[in-house]
């Protein structure tokens, strides 16, 4: 069969086989045991015309539940915040449209400028001195923070609050396995960090105490108290923070954080079924030599004109090889650009409004939903835009039944924590209307009857 889209003709195949001294492609596969090989052609349907293929793909895509056609109350790390239209228009420009970090950086002054602005905005939002050009996602940012704390303090333990996103905790465990960093979990029986338990676990061996605020359950942690506890033991405080909330909430840097990481998806990056995301990473100036990833700095050229460069590259792999501060030598340039445009479009007031609306609507939703008999808040803690409901019926079946009404009511917590098998994590962004929240409450009441 002619390969329409693969430039690999029978003539070329023969030429390649002759070069390597094989008679046929079959010859290349003799080392694979017969029982591991398929003895018949793959059962694939025949080729489709382009128009038929587009129709087929559309039909498949329509089977997904997306936040355009469904009312989304799902969060747990990825949020349905509004994405203003200038973002798509600007990132589609040829000068910007690459997913990747610049590899001939100083030739791309415009790209470096946008990264520099991104870093500046993130540093301001988080209350830190310096932010990097971004990492893959919130989870890898946190894992890098754990490695960095280990390198800075030369200590081998990292203490993680249970309120840190469980998926992030798993990524941290993977990263820490190689260097032999031990992880300790602080329980959160009441939905927030147990400070007494944390006090016992944070010792002279602790490189960092990690808290997330608002945490995975939506609750606000006492970051200042955690900072005091960590610093008293000579450990760093790492705070996981969603920057879209920081128009309203106090910057972690002003509460004593040494490193602030987080998922920046809420800053104008579409949910896209879970990625690509935006790993935020910021730190105090004293730690700048240990920061992972790329850093853009402003400078002046020999004529005194302002320009931008990749700076402190001696930390990075291409120069320091095995002794680099991190394996990260890229950034998610396009997502960072989305965040930069998002923050520029909304401005200070706009970002504050997003936070205020999300929090107000979340509290309205919690009020409406807990008015339903049998439904209650799982934790009696102050929350921001997300909260945990305890349901009288299994959350997974409730989700399935509400999905039929085009409502995505939240994320069942059973997969993350067996003790929370009766619980549903509900997120409310500024996009949800009163009508949508009321409709959710009405539908839930019916399903639970």
């Amino acid at each position: 069969m002619a390969s329409r889209y693969i430039a690999n003709t029978p003539a070329e195949q023969r030429e390649m086989l002759t070069t390597v001294g094989a008679a046929s492609i079959e010859d290349l596969l003799v080392k694979i045991p017969a029982k591991a090989r398929l003895s018949r052609p793959l059962a694939l349907p025949s080729a489709l015309a382009e128009s038929d293929l587009v129709r087929h793909m559309r039909a498949l895509a329509a089977r997904n539940a997306d936040a355009d056609r469904f009312v989304c109350f799902m969060g747990a790390g990825s949020y349905d915040h509004f994405v203003p239209s200038p973002i798509d228009h600007l990132i589609s420009r040829g000068e910007f449209f690459t997913a990747y970090t610049p590899y001939q950086p100083e030739a791309s002054q415009g790209t470096l400028r946008t990264i520099y602005e991104y870093q500046t905005m993130i540093a301001e939002l988080t209350g830190m001195d310096v932010a990097n050009a971004s990492i893959y996602d919130g989870a890898s940012s946190l894992a890098e923070a754990a490695l960095m704390a280990h390198a800075v303090t030369e200590r081998d333990e990292v203490v993680l609050a249970r309120g840190v996103n469980p998926l992030y905790r798993r990524v941290v465990a993977t990263y820490c396995d190689g260097p032999g960093i031990r992880l300790r979990d602080v329980p959160a029986p009441e939905g927030v960090l147990d400070l007494d338990a944390a006090g016992r676990l944070v010792t002279g061996k602790t490189a960092a105490l990690v808290v997330q605020s608002p945490n995975f359950y939506g609750a606000l942690e006492d970051v200042a108290a955690a900072a005091e506890l960590a610093h008293a033991a000579g450990a760093l405080l790492v705070v996981v923070s969603d920057p879209v909330n920081l128009g309203v909430l106090e910057a972690p840097g002003r509460l004593g954080a040494d490193i602030v990481v987080g998922e920046g998806q809420g800053l104008g990056v579409p949910m896209s079924f879970g990625g690509p995301n935006l790993g935020v990473f910021a730190a105090r100036a004293e730690l700048v030599r240990r920061i992972p990833g790329r850093l853009v700095g402003a400078t002046v050229d020999r004529d005194g004109a302002r320009g931008f460069v990749l700076t402190l590259q001696t930390r990075e792999q291409h120069i320091r090889r095995a002794k680099a501060t991190s394996n990260i030598c890229t950034n998610v340039a396009l997502c960072a650009l989305m965040a930069t445009i998002y923050l520029s479009t909304l401005g200070k007031q706009g970002l504050r409004r997003v936070g205020e609306l999300s929090a107000a609507k979340a509290h309205y939703a919690a009020e409406r939903l807990t008015a339903i008999p049998g439904v209650s808040l799982r934790f009696a803690q102050p929350f921001f835009k997300e909260f945990v409901l305890r349901l009288p019926k299994p959350p997974t079946s409730v989700v399935a039944r509400l999905a039929r009404r085009r409502i995505l009511p939240g994320v069942p917590l059973k997969t993350y924590d067996r003790a929370l098998a009766d619980s549903l994590l509900v997120a409310v962004t500024e996009q949800r209307t009163r009508e949508e929240i009321d409709a959710y409450a009405g539908a839930l009441a019916e399903v639970l009857k």
Binding site: E154, R289, T314, R320, K323
Partner: protein, 130 residues
């Protein structure tokens, strides 16, 4: 040729070592700082850290390069130059004086004897230059 004080011992990685009673002060040679160019950053171990002869104990970074610092002898770090992180250029200005890096309490006496004399180091540098 950069200066090579006769009273010091040297390594092939261009560190100098100076005996001070039962301790050894360590830095990099005038030749090393010349080759590196302007030093912009020095990373030193903490007091109490153990260093091993021929192994890296820190990092020196210049506008041109980044290099490991190698310990001339094994032992425990008892003092570090607290001024260097803020004023790394001291390494260029006064490599054998104020630009010192660490003081080590050696754990084995024999290693000292294996270090190069000023004469041997001068010869080594002269050969390396050709």
């Amino acid at each position: 040729m950069a200066s090579v004080p006769a009273e010091l011992k040297y390594t092939k990685e261009h560190e100098w070592a100076k005996r001070e009673g039962d301790r050894i002060r360590i830095g990099i040679t005038a030749y090393a700082q010349e080759q590196l160019g302007d030093v912009v950053f020095v990373e030193l171990p903490k007091v109490g850290a153990k260093v091993t002869a021929h192994q890296a104990f820190g990092v020196v970074e210049s506008v041109k390069a980044v290099s490991d610092l190698f310990a001339p002898v094994s032992g425990e770090v008892v003092e570090t130059n607290a001024e260097l992180p803020q004023k790394p250029e001291t390494v260029n200005k006064d490599p054998y004086g104020k630009g010192w890096m660490i003081v080590v309490k050696p754990s084995s006496a024999g290693e000292w004897d294996h270090l190069l004399s000023a004469e041997q180091y001068e010869k080594f540098v002269a050969e390396a230059a050709h």
